[in-house]
Every structure is written in C-alpha cells, then in structure tokens.
Subunit: 201 residues, 2 copies
C-alpha cells in the first residue's frame, strides 16, 4: 500500500496485486479495499463494479505482456536473431512478473469472450509476418523445412510453461524459489540454442 499516491492509483495497484494472485473469482473486493487502505464503498465509487475493475486490470496486464511477444516476432531482424532476442527478453520479463502468464491463461480459459472483446477486437492476426518470414527463410535454405505454427508453439511453450507449472515443479523436485529462478535464468540460453539448432539447415 502506498499512502502517498492518489486513491485511484492505489486501488489499481492493489487490484492488480490481488487479481494477479487469485483471479477474478478468487479475489475479494474487501481484500482489495484493505490492501489499498480504503473501504469497499470507495471501490464502487471509482469503478462501478467488480467486473469493470477487473476489466481494467486485465486489459492493462495483457496489453503490456502480449505486445512484447508480437513486437519481437514482427521486427525486421533475421529469424535467428529474433529467436535469441525473444528468449532472453521474454524469460527475463517473466522472471520479473512470474504470475502474469498464469493469470492471463487462466482468465482467457474462464472467459474467452472477454479476451476477444477487450483485447483482440480490431487487431489483425499478429503472426502473419513471422510466418511469412519463416517460409521465406526455408525457401532461401537458411532453415530446414518446418511447420511455422509448430515452431512458434515450440518457442513459446519452452519459455512460458515452467512458470505456469511452477508450484508443481517446485513441489515435485523440492526446489526453492531461488533454485527455480536460477534454473530459469539458465533456461533462456538453453531454449534459444536448442530451437536454433533444431531448425538450422
């Protein structure tokens, strides 16, 4: 709780924290109010209801996360450089905000329509360019013939999954938080070289 910032900002910061931790259904307006140092009534004064408050946070979180993927994938670098960039930037980013991937996946699963309406609406399919690039580099003989969609799935899977399954991984292996994040820092390089090795001609 930050007593010095404006009420609305404190609400947003607290809502983000609680929603990221527990999702829409798990979060309690009371807990958000407590964390922000105000009462429930004031939450409704600023954001008319729970849904609207959640929407604000959801869009905020998704809009600072997904564009990073697409920005790198749609850049102008050669494919190998993109992959390298993606792995290091992306895993680095998730290490800073490890709850974000699970939050997004969970909420898109619970209500895909919200995602379509609030986030995707009006945006064009963001994978066109990278798919074209993959096909072109195949034709040029830089990489082996590869299904572009599978390749993209591979990259994203390898980077994100461990953070989704983190509680289970740590439970099953007995890793501490420190162990886990250390493993993830190594992983960036690991994933990158594996992907590139698997596709280079």
């Amino acid at each position: 709780m930050q007593r010095d910032s404006s009420t609305e900002d404190r609400i947003l910061a607290s809502a983000r924290k609680i929603f990221l931790d527990r999702g829409l259904e798990g979060a309690r307006m009371q807990d958000i109010a407590d964390d922000a140092g105000i009462n429930k009534a004031l939450l409704h004064y600023y954001f008319r209801n729970k849904e609207k408050l959640f929407d604000t946070i959801f869009v905020q979180v998704v809009d600072e996360f997904l564009p990073r993927i697409f920005a790198i994938l749609n850049g102008d670098q050669p494919l190998f450089e993109k992959i390298k960039l993606f792995c290091s930037e992306y895993i680095g980013q998730i290490i800073q905000t490890p709850y974000v991937p699970m939050f997004i996946i969970q909420e898109v699963n619970r209500d895909p329509q919200r995602f379509i309406k609030k986030v995707m609406h009006g945006k064009h399919p963001p994978f066109q360019k990278i798919i074209a690039q993959i096909n072109q580099e195949i034709k040029q003989g830089i990489i082996k013939p590869t299904n572009p969609v599978q390749l993209l799935l591979n990259i994203i899977s390898l980077c994100i999954f461990p953070f989704l399954a983190r509680p289970m991984i740590q439970t099953v292996t007995g890793m501490s938080n420190k162990d886990f994040f250390h493993l993830m820092e190594q992983r960036s390089e690991e994933v990158c070289s594996m992907i590139i090795y698997s596709i280079k001609a």
Copy 2:
C-alpha cells in the same frame, strides 16, 4: 447423466465434469446436483461438503494423469525410446481429456498444500531414475552433455503447453477445434524428433 448407475457414481461423474470445466471456485453444487439428476441435499449426504467432494475428484484426476508420466519416464527402455513413447502416449492421452492439464495446473496453483497433502504425501521424488539414466547416457556418449532437469522440462513443456493455452491459441490464430486437434496429432511426432535431434551425440 446416467440414470442406470448408482447415485454415488452419478455424483462422481457429474462432479468430475463440472469441476474439470470450472474448477473448485467456479463450480456450483447446484449444477453438480442438476447434472446428476438429484438435489443438493443428497450431495451432502454422500460427501459431507464441497471440499471433500472436490478432494475426491482432484485426487482421482491427478492420480490417473501423473503416474502415466512417471511410469514411462521410470521404465527400462533406452532414453530415445522413452521419449518417443512419452510424446505419442502423452499427447494422445491429452487429446482424449484436454481439460485435465489446465485443471491440475490451476488447482495446484490455487492451493499447493492440497496437492502436497492429498497427492504427493509419502511418495518419493519420481525423477531420480530418469535423471540418473540421462547422466549415464551422457557418459556413454549416446547423448550430448545436457542438464537433465532442463531436458525434462523441455519435453513436458512442448507436450502440455498448447493445451493450456488452447483458447488463446484458437482465438489468435482463428483455428477451429478440428484444426487444433489435427495440429496436436501432428505435434506428437514433431516434438519427439525435435527433442531427440537436439540431444543425440
């Protein structure tokens, strides 16, 4: 709803369906009762409360899912065969029950203690054998020097992640259910050959 089976079995079948679809917090006892063709009071007669009913389903689902992983990983085949087995068996299995991975991940995230108490308690760490095998095959020169934990993470990530992110993937790419499952059927072979290619000496 199966009118011919016993009440308890019908409750379990309905609870499984509803809990898998919506999780502990999203599921309503009323919906489970409706689906089973009985009333709420009878749910409490058979399973004292929602938690206990959920625990039963959770343990059931996890116990028929995780052991499949461990059985293959702890078998006696050479590593390459294990990986091949794992990819085909595992993706094939998930295609049959595509909601299971998300259900498990979500509920372990929400309450890791339940997982520890109800599932892991008393079981020994299940990755010892496969890790030893990986290290041995490295020493024998069959596979390249590799961090065993990263390798296992890679295999599991590649197989499971697409099913966790399925609603988002289908939204972003515009794939139909049929398209998606077709892609996943190809994927088994795809993942297998990629992994093996990346580690063979």
